[in-house]
């Protein structure tokens, strides 16, 4: 076995979660095709339950637990989409979810987790205190820690989106996937290249959080320090499980600017009537970039619109 996650894990995940998660639609837009110079298929994970692909991995991880283990609940530290996803995945299994969040997290984020039935546990706004508090709750409850990306079942769950996309569009030549911790990207590598070894997988990353691009360039894992991007789902470093997959299976990582992210986010809202979050716009930026347009032998490309969780009280442009 070359990597921590295999196609068999993804297929198992698919069976486990198919009646729980949405089978999201694959949509197209002629305006985008024209701008991209090729046919673009959008896998709409912004339409997934809880508003992001994270619900796949969280559901797979929660459903994979043995009954007695599951009964003690699940724990994570996250203030983003994984937190909401885990809360709902736990609710579906009727078990508690303990979500550790910095006390500085916005009320909107806390309420999202509460709304899905999760329990919010506040901590100091440092990674050390988040980890310490999560460990404390694991010890206290006997619950299982479900990290946001560096976990076999989580990666395998995210990979199910790739199986669906290739079912819809078997002729796909390439996919472009946003990369933060790499759970979605590595899941896509394992699933899509497992099913179709010739498919080319590309990562999409903000210039202000370009650890994956730097790691690929160096051939050695590089941490993300002081990330700075509106794409708040893509700020973390790659993980121990995700990095080897990204290193071996991804052809290239493209980076994009903040202005471009805002512009392409608006383009998708306007032309496709889909609400996507900044992180999802990053993949759109890549397929419409000069550099990507010039790649030969790609007639059809898939792009993952990874999430749609935004604050509707502010305009992003």
């Amino acid at each position: 076995m070359k990597h921590a996650v295999t196609l068999a894990d993804v297929r198992e995940a698919e069976l486990r979660i198919r009646r729980i998660v949405h089978r999201t639609p694959t949509l197209t837009c002629e305006t985008i095709d024209r701008l991209a110079g090729r046919r673009v298929y959008f896998k709409c994970e912004n339409l997934q339950k809880t508003g992001s692909f994270k619900y796949r991995g969280a559901t797979n991880a929660v459903q994979a637990l043995a009954d007695d283990v599951a009964a003690r609940g699940v724990v994570t530290h996250s203030s983003g989409n994984h937190a909401q996803a885990l809360a709902l995945a736990a609710k579906f299994r009727n078990i508690p979810a303990y979500v550790v969040m910095p006390h500085t997290a916005t009320t909107v984020k806390k309420q999202a987790v509460l709304g899905y039935g999760g329990q919010v546990i506040e901590c100091a706004p440092t990674l050390a205190d988040r980890e310490r508090t999560a460990a404390e709750w694991v010890a206290k409850t006997g619950g299982t820690l479900i990290p946001p990306f560096d976990h076999v079942h989580v990666i395998a769950g995210q990979g199910t989106a790739a199986l669906e996309l290739l079912e819809d569009v078997p002729e796909l030549d390439a996919v472009v996937v946003p990369v933060g911790g790499g759970g979605l990207l590595s899941g896509f590598c394992i699933a899509s290249r497992g099913v179709k070894p010739t498919i080319r997988v590309f990562g999409a990353e903000p210039l202000g959080a370009d650890d994956a691009a730097r790691s690929k360039a160096a051939g050695v894992w590089q941490p993300q320090t002081a990330p700075n991007s509106i794409a708040d789902g893509l700020l973390t470093s790659l993980g121990q499980l995700t990095w080897p997959i990204v290193r071996d299976e991804v052809e290239a990582i493209f980076t994009v600017t903040e202005d471009d992210i805002r512009a392409k986010m608006r383009l998708i809202w306007e032309r496709m009537k889909l609400i996507i979050e900044p992180s999802a716009a990053v993949g759109v930026c890549v397929v419409l970039s000069e550099a990507f347009r010039e790649l030969p032998n790609i007639r059809t490309v898939g792009v993952v619109l990874c999430g749609g969780n935004v604050n509707l009280d502010t305009l992003y442009w």
Copy 2:
């Protein structure tokens, strides 16, 4: 033949337009199901080309023209979704579209038509001058007038959305359809009741433009004078072809308030990550209303999200 449009017309329309229009997805949302007290299926015509169902009817009308007639182009007076739809439908057939608009129409609306390859002809902002100018352009070009709703091919085209919805959800007990001129609503009546005679069809209308509700109550066509609603796609009176169908085939028309329209529009943006325009929110208001919730024997209901054309530079709440 009971009415001007038949199921055969809709089936013919489906064959004519199926390779041109999007087969839009049918989506669900558990939060909405819970609020509605039953299973709700959303037919996402906001994801249709040009951002509304209008592209179905316009395409059907344009494609039905004989070659020599089509070559002279099509004419309409509209500043809304029908204008954009007709422009793109004409572009697809490579014929000119002459769109008469009041000179007071916003730049955004003019540019939308221009963007789809239509020609904008300005007139004075009165119905009389719009009709006069359109007639003048018909005379001048020999083009065909394609009205926004009161036209057999337009109504039949809109009905194709109902065929798709019933293909996706054959067990549907009822549908809720926004009503302005009644093209979509009457198309839904003919198509859905043609395919499944037991299905119940309801109209959804803003209180500030309640001519359909008043007409149904009186049993006689009532005009819409001085409409006042944010749902700018639903301001017109029913037509000569649409009214008899609405009178005979619609079970009831429900009216909703402006505050409710804004609130439900936001609910769909927030929970379903779909951009819908105010007119599309009107159907959502109805399925979530006390009055509709109390209707017995409806386990599953379809709601048409008729369009998603909004100005993204303003917040609606």
